[in-house]
């Protein structure tokens, strides 16, 4: 096989490179800049252009990094390598690796819905497809983004009427900007936590067209109805106390389950995910035409059994150190 599954990560021996390795390797191709795919310590990195500034922010400005555009090809010892939009977050890519008749697509994390921010997912025909399964159960079917945003706006306006601020907890890279764009379009005043602010600056440097709300600080006067976007790690901490009165909400695919909404203890949960839902995963797998499917992080055993039984595919579980969207959003670095 062109790609093998090793202790360090997915390895292409012919081209001598790894895709999203979790242990240090000489040459790594990175699907996207989230920390469970883009680890520290590799000799050389290859990623999409938009991922570049964020990777430098997170991994250090001195990393050896080369970037590509979507669809741009590289040939390494006869192996054809290219990146294609995964729709997960800005700069996220599916990695296509082809040699002779064997075409692999390693999709990293992806979603099929257009979030208005990331370049939309494109299905790529292949013989071997590696897919995540974070929300690989028919329980998970996302409502369209407009509907979720409409609920969010209603919640924010209700709070404004009560003279309260709104905290929305979201990952600093991807989810935060997705929410910012949607709220900006509706004219909602926003402030952001430092880690969101730094990510925004990196994305602006990458040429992305996103709003750039000011940094929140304890001193400034905050008008009621202002939304503060911060990572979940600050939820219910002393840091948030100074912004009272406020209400907190979490934005995560896990919020689709009543149980996890309670566990997160957020007053409101908005089911908004940057991962594909059940229909998204199914349609993505089927659209590749791949006969062999490798299922990584998530409900891998169940999703692959379903693909075997119901679609006659040769699907199997592959172990990888990816976490997808953790049900415990406070776990930093697992996005």
């Amino acid at each position: 096989m062109l790609i093998s599954f090793t202790e360090r990560g997915f390895y292409c021996a012919r081209g001598d490179f790894y895709i999203d390795p979790w242990k240090p390797v000489p040459r790594a191709v990175i699907t996207h800049a989230h920390s469970d795919h883009s680890y520290r310590g590799h000799g050389h990195y290859l990623a999409h252009r938009v991922s570049g500034p964020v990777m430098r922010l997170r991994l250090g400005s001195d990393i050896s990094l080369e970037t590509l555009e979507y669809g741009e090809k590289r040939f390494i010892n006869g192996v054809e390598l290219s990146l294609h939009p995964a729709g997960h977050i800005p700069g996220s890519a599916q990695v296509r690796v082809a040699y002779k008749d064997e075409v692999w697509v390693l999709s990293g994390d992806y979603k099929t819905e257009n979030d208005g921010l990331s370049t939309p997912f494109e299905p790529i025909r292949c013989t071997h497809f590696v897919t995540e399964s974070t929300f690989g159960l028919p329980l998970f079917r996302w409502r369209p983004q407009e509907e979720v945003v409409a609920d969010m706006l209603q919640w924010i306006r209700g709070l404004a009427a009560e003279g309260r601020n709104a905290f929305i907890h979201a990952y600093s890279l991807g989810k935060a900007q997705r929410i910012m764009c949607a709220l900006h379009a509706a004219g909602v005043p926003m402030l952001v936590h430092g880690s969101v602010r730094n990510t925004n600056l990196a994305l602006l440097a990458a040429g992305l067209d996103i709003p750039n709300p000011p940094l929140v600080s304890g001193q400034q006067h905050i008008a009621p109805g202002t939304v503060i976007i911060a990572p979940a790690s600050v939820a219910e901490s002393n840091w948030t106390k100074r912004f009272e009165p406020y209400a907190e909400a979490a934005a995560s695919g896990w919020m689709a389950l009543r149980g996890t909404r309670r566990w997160m203890n957020a007053e409101r949960g908005f089911a908004l995910s940057d991962h594909a839902d059940w229909d998204g995963l199914r349609s993505a797998v089927l659209a590749t035409g791949a006969a062999q499917v490798f299922v990584t992080h998530g409900y891998a055993a169940l999703f692959s059994r379903y693909l075997n039984e119901m679609h006659g595919l040769d699907a199997q579980v592959v172990r990888a150190n990816f976490t997808g969207e953790s049900a415990d959003m406070r776990e930093e670095g697992t996005e």
């Binding site: 159960l137 028919p138 329980l139 998970f140 079917r141 896990w254 689709a256 389950l257 009543r258 149980g259 996890t260 309670r262 566990w263 007053e267 409101r268 409900y299 055993a301 169940l302 379903y306 039984e309 119901m310 953790s326 049900a327 415990d328 406070r330 776990e331």
Partner: protein
Amino acid sequence: MKQFAHLIAALDQTTSTTKKKEALMDYFREAPEADRVWAVALFTHRRPRRSINTTMLRAWAGEMAGIPLWLVDECWHIAGDMSECLAALVPEGVEHCRMSLAECMEEISSWKSRESAEVREAVHSIWMGMGRHERFVFNKLITGGFRVGVSQQLLVQALARLLGLEDAVVALRLSGNWSPQTTGWQELLLDERRDDARLYPFYLAYPLEQDLAHLGKPEDWFAEWKWDGIRGQLVARGGQVHLWSRGEELISAQFPELVSHPALADIQAVVDGEVLAWSEGKPLPFQVLQSRLGRKQVSAATMKKAPVVMLAYDLLEWEGEDIRRKPQQERRALLEALVARLDLPTLGISPLVAFDSWSGLKDLHAQAREHLAEGFMLKQRDASYQTGRRKGSWWKWKTDPYTVDAVMIYAQRGHGRRAGLYTDFTFAVYDAQRNLVPFTKAYSGLSDDEFAAINRWIKDHTLERFGPVCSVEAQLVFEVAFEGIGASKRHKSGIAVRFPRMVRWRRDKTVQEINTLDDLRGMIAAP
């Protein structure tokens, strides 16, 4: 039904009791009368018996979603709630269903006598006519109780405020034996009514948190042993005798010997007490009592194997008069006289434990297990009998739980509140051959941060996976606490524990240092 679903959503979306109360009042102000009665019934656990087999519901949802039954069941386990799971699986429809809550309940109860193909059609069309949340609430009506964070007390307060009645009056009217099918709003809450079987809301104690000295003078307090049985209220009026459980269910049929004495039919009284398995002047383990619970009828053989008594500790009504406002000591004096006069083998009195100082009581507390008790109940001598769980006049002071150090060997993905995380752990101790023997599961007692850290550990130390369960390397040691322990033939370990929970993650201990099965057996022999 939309109104009711809206209420459930409102209750679900807030943790503030004030807001919950407002949501309830809004609903009871606006909903049609028949719906209101049903809502009260559902919140007080008066859901009619399930009229449909849930296996069929799961199969139908699977067909509609185009997925196999095993996948429906996996989803159910992960969501932790069948109603929510099925609501999510069924494809989106058009929200055209206009049925009221009462009409839904009527529809559901009609299924008992209908062909399954016909019921399938009905369920199909209702599901397709509802949005996901309304569907979830509808499924709850079919399959299970509502846990929406509405305590009995909150419901009572909302209704009392809305109707301008006293809390206690509403609580009393809601208690007892009534059915939403035959009782109207007026009759339930507004009419003065005579119902000889009605019970009083139980007065429940909080655990003692402060030092005994803060309670004031010891001579102002009664101490009784806290028995490990079930709470019961014996209601004797108009020649009839009923026994109620704390969950306000009639349990007379499970304990016929407690209600069948002719002498009881001659009195007018309501007695609060503890039902215990009892033999030769001593309580038997709770497991013995368990064989009497949850049955419609008990056989003569079971009655013989598990003899019971009621130990009375309070008198709430006497000769037709509600005496709950009289001081504890006056009620106690009347109770003692009554129990002595009746002189029944199945009605005893929970004795007062004499003490003259708090330190003396502390010494006695250490002996609770020898008396086969769980600790003390402390009651202020001038306390009235209150409604629901209240602080101040009654306190429960339990013995320290048993604890052992055990190692985690299996982890199971939590469901419901904790879907997606491993939170249910199975614990083992060593047997004589140093094999690990699982003896209990536990899923509460740790902080969210500890659960998160343990989840990260599990990710790297999983041995095998079986569906939602995985076996892990036997390394993490926990202090596991439980309230009771008994021999059990059903468990491989030969023991069963009550109310197990984790109290501490012992990062300082290795698996070599955990307790043994012999240690556990020793706890049974010498309580």
